[in-house]
């Protein structure tokens, strides 16, 4: 099982690397726009993975991961804008900054559980855009106007388009981060993390330093999401407080739940979904309005809500959970 899944992962990675090279062959299918769209999915997947590490694997609740995303994005943006740091160097910087912020936030969060932790993280997500606009930070953050950046340029004279390069860059970061997460979860520390999620009291009596694990997990989770933020700053080439409203955090949560809580594959699916659901809601709306000729003024937002509920109905454990169940059923039927 483990060996075969490894093969699968490798296969998908090889495929992911090869696809952009097909651009000259199928210019309309593998367009720059599509590659850009996939890059945003990758970025979302990384952000959802960060949240998953905290919620799915450590049992801590967060409604405010948009805050870490924002901190990552601004760290990258400020370094590029003020200090002319190259974009790739801002990724580790964002990771470090977000780790520290996450770790520090994890300290008071230790005392909070369930809904209270949700409130605390929610508050964080609310506070960050306000802090970005704070009078004394305006020089750094650009205040309400934000910071306009340059898109990453293709290095070494490689014969790639900007979007192809961005795609490869995001893909590389994602592979490294998922590999890291998989190893972490397979290690002793990873098992301790999950033990804390499953049996808090037991983990405590087993001699696991639950406080340390919980705060460090908070830090790592924040760092992952922060890296995603930094990548998004590179991809969008613009940061502003309006990009990091509370709905961003909620979208991560949707990605997490719909993808699959506590599943690495689920994070990828969640990232894809997070980007797709909006677009599909819009196309679906257009389809219903124009092709089915609905007399009523249906909004894409309504369709979005209906889609969400429908997905939870069909797959209460998320897409990853749903796939797993389908797989088991198939095998069961064959056996």
């Amino acid at each position: 099982m483990a060996a075969s899944s490894k093969k699968w992962v490798l296969g998908i990675i090889v495929l992911a690397v090869l696809v952009p090279l097909l651009q000259p062959v199928f210019p309309d299918v593998v367009s720059n726009y599509r590659l850009f769209l996939v890059s945003t999915m990758i970025i979302a997947a990384i952000a959802v993975l960060g949240l998953n590490l905290l919620t799915g694997f450590n049992g801590q609740f967060s409604l405010g991961h948009g805050a870490f995303y924002a901190v990552g994005a601004y760290t990258a943006a400020i370094l590029m804008d003020k200090l002319n740091v190259p974009y790739w160097a801002t990724i580790p910087a964002a990771a470090i900054v977000c780790f520290i912020v996450g770790y520090l936030f994890g300290l008071p969060a230790l005392k909070l559980e369930g809904h209270y932790l949700a409130l605390a993280t929610f508050a964080l997500a609310l506070a960050v855009p306000q802090i970005l606009k704070y009078k004394w930070l305006e020089g750094l953050t650009g205040g309400v106007q934000g910071i306009v950046l340059m898109k990453p340029e293709v290095p070494f004279g490689l014969p790639l388009s900007e979007d192809q390069w961005l795609y490869y860059f995001c893909l590389l970061v994602m592979i490294v981060l998922f590999w890291g997460a998989a190893n972490l979860l397979n290690s002793r520390s990873g098992r301790a993390m999950m033990a804390i999620r499953d049996q808090y009291m037991a983990a405590d009596t087993m001699g696991i330093d639950t406080a340390l694990y919980k705060t460090v997990t908070f830090g790592i989770s924040a760092a992952y999401t922060g890296i995603a933020g930094a990548l998004s700053a590179c991809a969008i080439a613009f940061v502003a407080p309006d990009s990091f409203g509370i709905f961003l955090s909620i979208k991560f949560l949707i990605g997490l739940v719909v993808g699959g809580i506590g599943s690495l594959l689920g994070s990828v699916l969640g990232g894809i979904f997070y980007v797709l659901v909006d677009n599909s809601a819009q196309s679906l709306t257009q389809f219903i309005r124009n092709d089915l000729g609905l007399p009523f003024d249906l909004s894409a937002y309504t369709v979005f809500g209906v889609l969400l509920i429908a997905i939870i109905y069909l797959m209460p454990m998320g897409i990853a959970g749903g796939l797993y169940m389908a797989y088991r059923k198939l095998r069961g039927a064959r056996a």
Binding site: P108, A120, K133, V257, I261, Y301, P316, M317
Partner: protein
């Protein structure tokens, strides 16, 4: 001094709004263990219903009572049709369903009634209510209504068999079944009650913030904080929490204002008041993890 008094009164009035919505949140929490993110939008939708009834010629209070009843039915229906089939789904999945509901209510209200802000009448006569220059008639009315709703809920839960059954169902559903309580219906009833309380909140709020599909967005955040400060399972705590958050927020702005006046240095102002208020709330929660008025309940392992 006059400013302090006015800020305090305005905080109290805002607090009443938060308290009302927080009460609705608590209603659903005690009966189903969920925090309903769609609560604000449901309340907004109810308010539109009462607006519609009034525009058809009903008087304020007739529309009010009818709306509360319609909202009750709406809450029961949502529980039976949408949440019942999902009673085994994980908490986070339910939250996603709530977000879906939020989107649907918000956009439907926009589609039916447009996004234009609408005036909403106040039932409180200006001449008899309010203290001139300090607190408006409607603001004072909202405070009173909130306290009345709280009182009614208290009597309902404390002294009626149905209220008792709801508390029992919330505390230990399996045991409640064993004494013949139809727990499923208690959940639906909880939703109905919450929707009714939300409707009251919406109708009271709408005169102050005007009626529009997004009117509850900001308020829900404050209500959420209020409910948690007070102890999420305690209705009286939620109301107290609402007043605390409302007043605290204005006091933060006031303090910042006074500091700027005295020293000329801007430290905190209106942009940061929510942040600071929330930090204080969270600080309180780390010291008293179950909220100011909540009891620590031993968790079943």
């Amino acid at each position: 001094m006059e400013q302090l008094l006015q800020q305090f009164a305005s905080g109290l009035a805002n607090g009443a709004i938060y308290a009302c919505v927080a009460l609705a949140l608590v209603m659903i929490y005690v009966s189903t263990d969920h925090i309903n993110f769609a609560q604000g939008e449901m309340a907004m939708f109810s308010t539109y219903i009462s607006w519609q009834l009034m525009s058809w010629g009903m008087s304020f209070w007739v529309a009010f009572i009818l709306t509360v009843m319609i909202s009750f039915a709406m809450g029961v229906l949502i529980e039976r049709l949408i949440l019942r089939p999902l009673h085994n789904a994980p908490v986070l999945s339910i939250i996603v369903v709530f977000i879906g509901l939020l989107a649907i209510f918000n956009s439907m209200a926009g589609a039916f009634w447009s996004y234009l802000i609408k005036e909403f009448p106040s039932p409180f006569p200006k001449s008899e209510f309010g203290i001139a220059g300090v607190i408006g008639a409607h603001q004072l009315g909202v405070v009173l209504v909130t306290l009345i709703v709280l009182g009614l809920l208290f009597v309902f839960f404390r002294y009626t068999p149905l209220g008792l059954a709801m508390r029992a169902a919330a505390q230990n559903p399996q045991m409640a079944r064993l004494v013949g309580v139809r727990v499923d219906w208690m959940l639906a009833l909880g939703w109905g009650l919450a929707a009714s309380v939300g409707a009251v909140a919406g109708i009271m709020v709408a005169h102050i913030v005007y009626l529009e599909p997004n009117m509850m967005g900001g308020i829900l955040l404050y209500a959420f904080a209020s409910a948690l400060v007070g102890g999420i399972s305690n209705p009286a705590g939620a109301v107290a929490g609402g007043f605390i958050v409302g007043i605290l927020e204005n006091m933060v702005a006031y303090a910042g204002n006074q500091i700027e006046k005295a020293t000329g240095v801007y430290i905190i102002g209106n942009g940061e008041k929510l942040t600071v208020a929330l930090i204080i709330v969270i600080f309180v929660l780390t010291v008293r993890p179950a909220g100011l008025f909540g009891r620590v309940v031993v968790r079943r392992v």
